[in-house]
């Protein structure tokens, strides 16, 4: 809620009076002086109107499908109700469509007048794209009858469109903890799968003694099974460096975050289903974390964080993108929204890096330095939180060398790292091809270190990409 802001749109009307009055005096025409009174009347008119009340509005948004398939059209309907007891003669509503999802039918905007208790419903359709996409706040501008004052309000109705499919296999590398789980290890012990035989030692359980062998040869041996243990995995989402640069809307970078968050969600579900411990962390300017935990309640908490925490919002990925920010009345400076809508189709950045927004190629210097500081700080925080054998599943577009560095440092500290990298590079320009090439090099570097890197191409099934890569490391 903000204060009433004068739009100044009636200011010019006094000029009519002055002009008509001056001409009337010069030409000695009383009728023109009468005409001049018109300007005075219209200058007074907006003053006589009651100021627009702080609108009391109720908002409700429904989407036909909260987990659509890639490319599917999702119908959205937004209902705004005037819950106050005064007329709102001029209400301009702009819904906060997720920046990456293009509107394909209808328009998410409307101007209307609402009496007390009346409501209006906007209906439009968006095209789903892979990733977790959050609706931003709905912006409402309320003007008085003459349009002389304006109030700006935002209405929050959290809605998340989650596009993608479930993942059957979790991204886990070696065994870690001594807690029973689904991860089959190479250590002998109790379990289901046969591992080997060894000489009996005092204290071995009676049921694992190979009685048949004892009966035939007289040797006392113990059967060993492959131990099944649970891993502890921290899902770490790379948010890039967008807060540091504060550059223009970079749909590639925010797309990477949207897909990373969706992947984190899927991995968390798969890990919890397999009874592994899951935690959450971020790498980048915004901090969000959840300690390790197991069970459905923990999973719900984690998914709630992914859905609602501001660190994963589009605002982090590309700086706040205010819808229809009005400047002076005539020159409402909302080209920003227009740009967002226009480029929402996908990573079409020509200058900035579509994979993570690092302008290192052209004008790296300061931005990269600031980013580096952010990264190393959050990496240090992450390492403090991790204990000895915790694994890290890093979700990163691999847009810069700092990430490779971070992985290297984590590996050195003894944490197994698995990288899931949504590919947001394109091949349309020379710059973008170079970016794609650099990313491929980073993947090679990481694989040479023995780190599994799941190269998740756009439109590809994450589960397939994951199982194909993880097979090589089983």
């Amino acid at each position: 809620m903000t204060d009433a802001r004068p739009t100044g749109r009636w200011r010019g009307v006094v000029a009519l009076s002055l002009f008509a009055g001056a001409v009337g005096l010069l030409a000695q025409r009383p009728s023109l002086l009468l005409l001049a009174s018109l300007g005075v009347g219209y200058a007074v008119y907006p003053r006589l109107l009651p100021a627009p009340p702080d609108p009391t509005l109720g908002v409700e948004r429904t989407v036909t499908d909260t987990d659509p398939a890639d490319g599917e059209h999702v119908a959205v309907s937004l209902t705004v109700r005037n819950e106050g007891d005064r007329w709102l003669p001029d209400l301009r509503i702009v819904d906060g469509v997720p920046p990456l999802l293009p509107v394909v039918e209808g328009t998410p905007r409307r101007a209307t007048a609402l009496g007390p208790g009346e409501e209006t419903t906007l209906e439009y359709a968006i095209e789903a794209k892979e990733g977790k996409h959050r609706f931003e706040a709905t912006t409402v501008l309320a003007r008085d009858l003459g349009g002389a004052t304006e109030r700006r309000t935002t209405l929050h109705e959290p809605t998340v469109v989650d596009c993608g499919v479930a993942v059957p296999t979790p991204a886990v590398r070696d065994l870690t903890r001594h807690r029973t789980g689904q991860r089959v290890t190479d250590d002998g012990g109790s379990g289901l799968e046969f591992h080997g035989m060894r000489e009996y030692q005092a204290g071995d359980p009676m049921k694992r003694v190979d009685w048949r062998r004892l009966a035939s040869g007289g040797e006392l041996t113990t059967v060993e099974f492959r131990e099944e243990r649970a891993a502890a995995v921290v899902l770490c989402v790379d948010l890039g460096e967008q807060l540091a640069t504060g550059g223009p809307v970079d749909s590639g970078a925010s797309h990477a975050v949207a897909r990373s968050v969706a992947a984190a969600d899927r991995l968390a579900v798969a890990l919890t289903a397999a009874n592994h411990e899951v935690g959450l962390a971020t790498l980048g300017p915004a901090v969000c974390g959840l300690p390790l935990g197991v069970g459905q309640a923990h999973l719900t908490r984690l998914r709630h964080l992914l859905d609602t925490h501001e660190a994963f919002g589009p605002a982090t990925a590309n700086g706040p993108s205010p819808p229809a920010e009005p400047g002076r009345d005539g020159r409402e400076a909302d080209g920003h929204t227009a740009t967002a809508s226009a480029t929402a189709g996908g990573p079409t950045a020509t200058v900035t890096d579509p994979a993570g927004g690092e302008p290192a190629v052209s004008d790296g210097g300061q931005a990269a330095a600031a980013d580096g500081a952010d990264r190393s700080r959050s990496l240090a925080e992450l390492r403090e939180r991790l204990d000895g054998t915790t694994q890290v599943a890093l979700l990163s577009p691999l847009a810069d060398d700092d990430v490779v560095d971070a992985v290297r440092r984590l590996e050195v500290a003894g944490h197994s790292v698995t990288v899931v990298s949504p590919d947001t590079t394109t091949e349309d320009t020379v710059g973008n091809r170079l970016v794609a090439c650099e990313r491929a090099t980073r993947i090679q570097t990481l694989r040479r270190l023995g780190v599994p890197v799941v190269d998740w191409a756009s439109g590809q099934h994450l589960g397939n990409a994951l199982s194909r890569t993880m097979e090589q490391y089983q």
């Binding site: 009076s17 002086l33 009468l34 009347g41 905007r109």
Partner: protein, 231 residues
Amino acid sequence: MSATVDVRHRPTGAGSLLSLLAGVTAVALVIDGAGQWQPLLVELGGLGICAVAVATWDRDWRLGSLSLAVAGCLLVTVGIALGVTSPGEMTQRLELLPGLFGLAVLFAGLVPLRSGWERRLVTAGAALLFLGVVTSGVVRGASDSRLLLAGVATVLAWDLGGNAVSLGNQVGRAAETHRTELLHAGATLVAGAAVFVVALAVAALDVQGLSLTGFAVLLVAGFALVVAMRH
């Protein structure tokens, strides 16, 4: 990528239409003879054809729209040329021509001819319309009440045009806006009617008896009132 509906930040259709109607009324109120009506009607025909061209522009019928637009512009030019030649007296030309130019400029602002110039063109168009009204007052072309009504129509054209531009910027041409625009137009019209009645009442009191200086002082007092209300 599939076709996306982009938000077009152009003045809204309903508001633009109302604004132009008010503009035409302002011109029509200050003219009388057939020699003045003919150019106005020709120009209106041209503007109508241009409007059709604008409406069909986005429907993949570029060549047709373009030829329509050229024909419309030609007709508007013919109308203005007629405005120079057709009226019998010089004073009639003087009160008609600013109005004709004003309508064309107003239309150009609402199309808009150039993005970012909408408000400037709308203001310029309304100023030209008002120039026509004032000229008519100077040459004693129209009665007091018609002059006042033409003034109200000019303000209406300017206000509705500006509102259409601001709505276009904030919600776009594709959005549904007619409800608030009609309400806004109604309010401005009612305000204009009130001013009209008050002004005529003042005039009816005894304008002849009041000297021009006295009238001017009254006007200055009105300004003082406005300034006082502003603070």
